[in-house]
Structures are given as structure tokens and as C-alpha cells.
Amino acid sequence: MPHRRHRASGAHHCGTCPPRRPRARRVTALALAAGGAALVSTGALSSWDATAKVDSGDLTASSGETTLLDANGGAFSAAVANLLPNDYFHRYVDVRNDGTQVHTYTGTVSATGDLAGYLSVDAVTCSVPWTTVAGASICGGVQGTSLVSGASALNAPVVLTHGSIATGAAAAQHVRYTFTFASNAPSSLQGRAGKVTIAVNNTLVGGNDRTSG
């Protein structure tokens, strides 16, 4: 019983008690052990964190939008009635690159209906918008070479090479299409009808080194 009283009080006055490890020493040892382990684990891999980062500029996908615009006061969608052999008509179209970079364009002209095969097409560019003066079609700038090799019969779609067109309205390609009804069209075609369609396409091909922009 006296031993219990001594423990409860925390005093250490028992001279007959057997020697035992002091509690304070055990706590100290545990603390040292834990501290040492911590020192070992951090000290072995210790470093100072210092990071840096850079962001790229905006990486934007290319856009290849194309617009075909009626020009010189005409409308490509206008109908033409009562065509006779050797009749011809012009249609003026501006090919505008509304994309984000210069593109190379190709085009097709095709005919459908009963007049297919009896229409021919010629297409030529002008450096400035086409005009019509006293009924005559005028290129006031530099007239380009024909986009097709001479007048081609539209038995099948005719391919045109528009070439490179920069972006924006100022760089639009001014094209004059001339459609001619064949002189040898048979009289059996009287009253028959057809249509023509023009299409312009560009192909955006990647695989280029864009390191410098």
C-alpha cells in the first residue's frame, strides 16, 4: 500500500523499492528516436523546391473557309431562257479566302440536265473586279491565263486550277466564267433545260515544320 501511495504522488522516496527505468528517460528516448528517424528521412533527400514554367502562345487550328460572291452586278443563280446554239453568257464570281492563311484552290464546273454535253466553259481571272462597259466584258487590270485549257465541253466535271489565294476581300480572285451553248446542239433539245454548278475547294494539309511560327 505505501508503494501505491508513493506512485500516486509521483514522489520517489522509496529506498527499498527495486531499481526501475525512470519514465522521463523513456519519453526522452522515444522522442530522440523519432527525431532521429525524421532527420534521417528528410536529410537524406533534402532539397529546396524551385520550379519554373512557360506557357506556349495560342495554338490555333487553321481555318479554310471559302466564300463565292456574285460580282459585276450579276448573279450566278440567274436563269437563262431561250438559249440558241452559239449563245453564251458570262458569270462573275469572286473567290474569297475567309480562312486564316493562304491556301491553294482547285475548282470544278459541271453541268446537269439535258444540256450537259452541249455546254462549254472558259474561266479567266482578273487582278481587279470585272466590269461591263457598253455590253463588253472588261478586265481593267491584268487578265490572267485561263483556268481551263480553252473552252471545255461539260460532258463531265471540268477541273480548274485557281492557284494560291490569300485571305481577305482585297485578295479575292475575280473569276469570269463564260458558258457557251454548242453550235451543234440538236434541235431535239428545244425547250430542254439544265443547270451548271461551280465549286471551289481548298485542301489544308499539315505535316509542316511550324517551329518558327
Binding site: A79, L84, Q190, T197, A199, T203, G206, G207
Partner: protein, 172 residues
């Protein structure tokens, strides 16, 4: 392993896949003209053939007169022409053209009348007439033909139709 490699190889092909961008427009209807002419009876004797390509008048015991128009049935202006044949030729030509519609009551031409000349060819009197200017669509050539009391038949037959010259149709 080969199969896997082949599969991988197959999936790497679109590495340079291209984007297509473009536009197209379609024209309005392009229609070919129709070219032709037909007879249309106006007054008096005579009859138009079912196909409208000819008109005939026959005289038996009495004289007869008929009025007929040759109509431009084309969808474009055109020059019309016709031929005249008669079994016999007695006196003046049996057919005439007036620049205005004939007065079918009096038989007079209110404008300028022109007799269609005939010539005897192999026993048949034959002649022809063509308009000098382009007739508008549905325009008419005003004709009168007469036969005498002698058994005779006069036939008017539509001939070549020459449409307007070919040209620039950009705005029309």
C-alpha cells in the same frame, strides 16, 4: 506480333490527313429555245392542216378567198418563210401578204400589200415569201389567198424558221 504491327501501321496512315473546305453555287435553269411556226385561220375559206404546218384553199365552181396568218410559234424572235403552190396559174398570183391585218370584209390591205410571185416548175406554180425583219414571239404574217372559179387548189406551207442571231445572254 505481325498482326499487331499491321494494325498499328494501319492506324498511322491518317497522320497527314487533310481538311477539305470549299463552297459551291448552282445556276438557275438554263433552257433552250423552241423554234417553229404555224398557220392560224383568220376568215373566209380554206383550212389549216391538223399539224398547223400548211393551209389550203380549193375553188370549185365559184371563186373563193381565205385569210390566214403564219404565226411565229418560237420562243425567240425569228424570220418566217413559207411556200405557195398552185395547180394552175391564171392571171395574177393567188396569194398576197399585207403588213397589217387584212380587212376581211372589203378584202383591202390597210398597210402595204405584196403579191407573192409564182413560177411554173414542172407543171406546178411555186413561189415563196420570207419576212425581212425578225418577227417577235407570236408575231404574224398576214396572208390572203384566192382561187378562181376554175378547179384549183392553193396551198401555203410553212418553211424554214430562222431565229435571232446567237449572242451574249449574260443579262437577258
Amino acid at each position: 506480333m505481325l498482326v499487331v504491327a499491321a494494325m498499328i501501321g494501319g492506324t498511322t496512315t491518317p497522320a497527314r490527313a487533310a481538311w477539305q473546305a470549299g463552297a459551291s453555287v448552282v445556276s438557275g435553269s438554263l433552257t433552250m429555245a423552241q423554234v417553229g411556226s404555224r398557220f392560224a385561220a383568220v376568215a373566209g375559206r380554206g383550212a389549216v392542216a391538223a399539224n398547223g404546218a400548211s393551209w389550203s384553199i380549193t375553188g370549185l365552181a365559184t371563186a373563193a378567198t381565205g385569210y390566214v396568218d403564219l404565226v411565229n410559234a418560237s420562243t425567240v424572235p425569228a424570220r418566217l418563210s413559207l411556200t405557195v403552190t398552185a395547180g394552175t396559174l391564171v392571171g395574177v398570183s393567188p396569194a398576197a401578204v399585207c403588213s397589217q391585218p387584212w380587212n376581211t370584209t372589203t378584202g383591202a390591205c390597210p398597210g402595204t400589200a405584196t403579191q407573192i410571185g409564182l413560177a411554173m416548175v414542172l407543171g406546178t406554180s411555186t413561189g415563196g415569201h420570207s419576212t425581212e425583219a425578225l418577227l417577235p414571239v407570236a408575231g404574224r404574217v398576214h396572208l390572203k389567198a384566192s382561187v378562181t372559179g376554175v378547179l384549183n387548189t392553193v396551198t401555203l406551207t410553212a418553211a424554214d424558221v430562222v431565229p435571232r442571231p446567237a449572242g451574249d445572254r449574260t443579262t437577258s
